[in-house]
Subunit: 572 residues, 2 copies
Amino acid sequence: MLKTYFPILDWGRAYNKQALSNDLIAAVIVTIMLIPQSLAYALLAGLPPEAGIYASILPIILYAIFGTSRALAVGPVAVVSLMTAAAIGEVAAQGTMGYALAALTLALMSGVILLVMGVFKLGFLANFLSHPVIAGFITASGIIIAASQLKHILGVDASGHNLLELVLSLFEHLGQVNLPTLVIGVTATGFLFWVRMGMKPMLMRLGLSAGAAGVATKAGPVLAVVFSTVAVWAFGLADQGVRIVGEVPQSLPPLTMPSFSPELLRDLAVPALLISVIGFVESISVAQTLAAKKRQRIDPDQELIGLGAANIGAAFTGGYPVTGGFARSVVNYDAGAETPAAGAFTAVGLAIAAVALTPLVFFLPKATLAATIIVAVLSLVDFSVLKHSWNYSKADFMAVLATILLTLGVGVEVGVSAGVILSVLLYLYRTSRPHIAEVGLVAGTEHFRNILRHEVQTHPTLLTIRVDESLYFANARYLEDYILNRVSEDKALKHVVLMCPAVNFIDLSALESLEAINLRLQEMGVTLHLSEVKGPVMDRLQKTHFLNALTGQVFLSQYQATHELTPLNVAK
Amino acid sequence: MLKTYFPILDWGRAYNKQALSNDLIAAVIVTIMLIPQSLAYALLAGLPPEAGIYASILPIILYAIFGTSRALAVGPVAVVSLMTAAAIGEVAAQGTMGYALAALTLALMSGVILLVMGVFKLGFLANFLSHPVIAGFITASGIIIAASQLKHILGVDASGHNLLELVLSLFEHLGQVNLPTLVIGVTATGFLFWVRMGMKPMLMRLGLSAGAAGVATKAGPVLAVVFSTVAVWAFGLADQGVRIVGEVPQSLPPLTMPSFSPELLRDLAVPALLISVIGFVESISVAQTLAAKKRQRIDPDQELIGLGAANIGAAFTGGYPVTGGFARSVVNYDAGAETPAAGAFTAVGLAIAAVALTPLVFFLPKATLAATIIVAVLSLVDFSVLKHSWNYSKADFMAVLATILLTLGVGVEVGVSAGVILSVLLYLYRTSRPHIAEVGLVAGTEHFRNILRHEVQTHPTLLTIRVDESLYFANARYLEDYILNRVSEDKALKHVVLMCPAVNFIDLSALESLEAINLRLQEMGVTLHLSEVKGPVMDRLQKTHFLNALTGQVFLSQYQATHELTPLNVAK
């Protein structure tokens, strides 16, 4: 019981020297990678650079205690940082105390939402984000994030929460471009693209193993940070208008207090919910991918608790919303992390960095951080989901297209909400006009098939209709209209059999429609029968008066119905 | 073609003397009934009394031209009047010009919404109001309407848009009760209840036919109006604090102009949508009930156009939102109306009343109008839907209960919206955790049944799973978890067959889950097969790579799958 809520008790008991050594090595590598990444994502969220580091310390430790993934690395990630900027940009101006306070509050609210979802086992709610909607959202977010960082590469002021605003704002400020910044930005971006594409093959040619070369390439951003910082310092570029990180407090994460202002809580409620769900979906898919490789198990509801605890931790230690990140988790896994203790050691490494190393980033140009973000997020951009969904299902395609267009054109919150709502509406629309087939007997078998698709036997007095959907309020009237129109055209009919092998439930509205169909058919002198009603549906019908009122019978099989109602030769 | 949009061309051509005489008689009876009813519903909507009469003139004529029902009588109805009061009470104070203007605007918006729904054939949207939610909403609205009229019976000021506010407000003002008003109110209410319950049997005992007695009882409210008006005039009760209708302009409906202020349009958008849908549902169910009795056909999309035209007419002639009313339509039908011309004659009758008879209602006490409303709406109150739904389906019960409680406790808009949203959410929840059964062969047949419910044959190397739901984003992961958990527990398994007779479609998310299941099972050395995949689903799968990647086969029948995959004796 206790182990369910504290997975640390499970792996902690079996911890040994070998695991310790593997975890320590992984922690060192991840720490080095996380320092520039944390600063960069804080920049993306519109927060001071140290917020990114603080958000990676206590949250990692709390996740190590409560989470079930052995390799997941929790902290700021690109999409959640963007969503944070979009949400708190609505309630406070960037750079003010109110802005940082709103970030803490957002982290707290996300944490509480995740925790509640975990305790009440509501993880299935995340399933309402369909795969194609997530894919479209991530792609569109990647584009917006990259666009939002161009201002740092150009050294201009620009702002906006969607692609249109960002591009217009960039054009407006194009006259202010700062040349030294542009040189640093473009060089760093080019270098990082090369690191991603060409460095690993080069290192392997130099004799490194694929794994080691892969891990080493993750240090690329650190190289870019070091070189550009030295360049700014050596050539005094800060005086020529290159914007730098500047002073970062040398301190452990401070104890902070989120706001409980009812107005702020209300304004942030929807963003907090979206951030929670998006963060959870991103985190769980990373965790499950990594766990599957080692045949480990992820408990989605316990993951919610782990992420909830991490976010609450972020709220009280100067951070902002966090989740399990793809890049950092993969590095952690590839570097050999065996248990969540690797995360705890990473937290110690970052704490040391926060206390000792922050003066070293004083001259770090923001353009370099922007370059690391751009290179990281462009790998998320993948439009192939549009082609897949177009080929397979137009409904999925429409949901993806709406998600991408609205995310780019209006913003992240509208985009992802629209995707979810549209998926649900398209599903409801589809089930509200179910596939209804008139069926006949396949000669020599007991099978019944669509008369339009197969050569089948029918009889003029018998109409057999198979409805391929559960019957509920949204399609009850559709079935009613279909049957009554079909029967009123055909004077020879004496029996209608509704074949129900695909009817998984019948709600009260549909039951009333069946009663109406039964009554109207009776007035026309036609008998209504049912066949192949499923066990659970039959159990429920038996509690009503419908079976007494039914003019015909309920047949166990359509074969039997045909046999009893027509002189049709059904002998094999 | 033209006849579709102008049903008048259809019945107008065959119009004859007999129909004319029947329609004229019906019109006289309906006119007499409508005068007090129209005044009363205007009072309920918070509008001056003449608004109720104006709303019954042009709208009736427009519906006669565009509508498809032969007997439907269009005009103000109780529930829509209540919803109008709730909606415009939010944007303007009662008795002001802004209030009347908002009512016109609301009628215009409803009209446009209905027209657009009709032209684009969106009538099916009304199906998302499930039968139990409508039943609950009507019951709760009836209670609120009755409660809102108690102030007129007591002669006090009170207000509120939900039951709690109304009751509290009544208690607060209990000290102001006006005795003469109370006497009139209670007497009128008691008399009208007697008319409804005891007058028809009495008239029948006196020798009237059941039909004539039924129509005569509808004149009860007119008697109450006449007697109470005379009493107020004769005893000078207006000077003793009995509130009266007072001066009503003697005029034909004026030409009015709704507002096009963007702010007002925005504020009224949601109420206008709700009023349109609720009004349409009420109207169409009355129309279909009456049409079925004479084997006539109602075209729902054309009905939307007819109601849309009626509401636009109301907007420009001093009215407010209208729809087809139950009581007035039944009277029209029972009085022998044969064609929509009866409606047009009623409109003429009401126009005469508006010009000539309004001075007669100067001394009419509001308490009498309140009494007619209370007696009319209490017949709508019926809690039996709670019992039905409790017995049949807890999901339906929850939706009804929420609708009733929120309508009573918060208000009509929240109540009906919550009912719709909750029905949809409960449906999504149900389909997100589909019924999944492990099945086996019923000996001596080709049928497969749930191993928990039936005596069936299985084989240790073969797991056959039947999923009783279409596979889509909300349940894809559920299926994935179910299969992988089940398989990982059972080391003897070599084959898994997913039996799909109840799978009506597979969306892209579910396809990706099937791919994941296939891959994971492959890693465990287990082969995945499908069986009994429906034609449309198979067509779609054939466009993907899934069937190539599938480790096993797709069997036409589960019988064939069992035969080929196991040594199980499947010979009959």
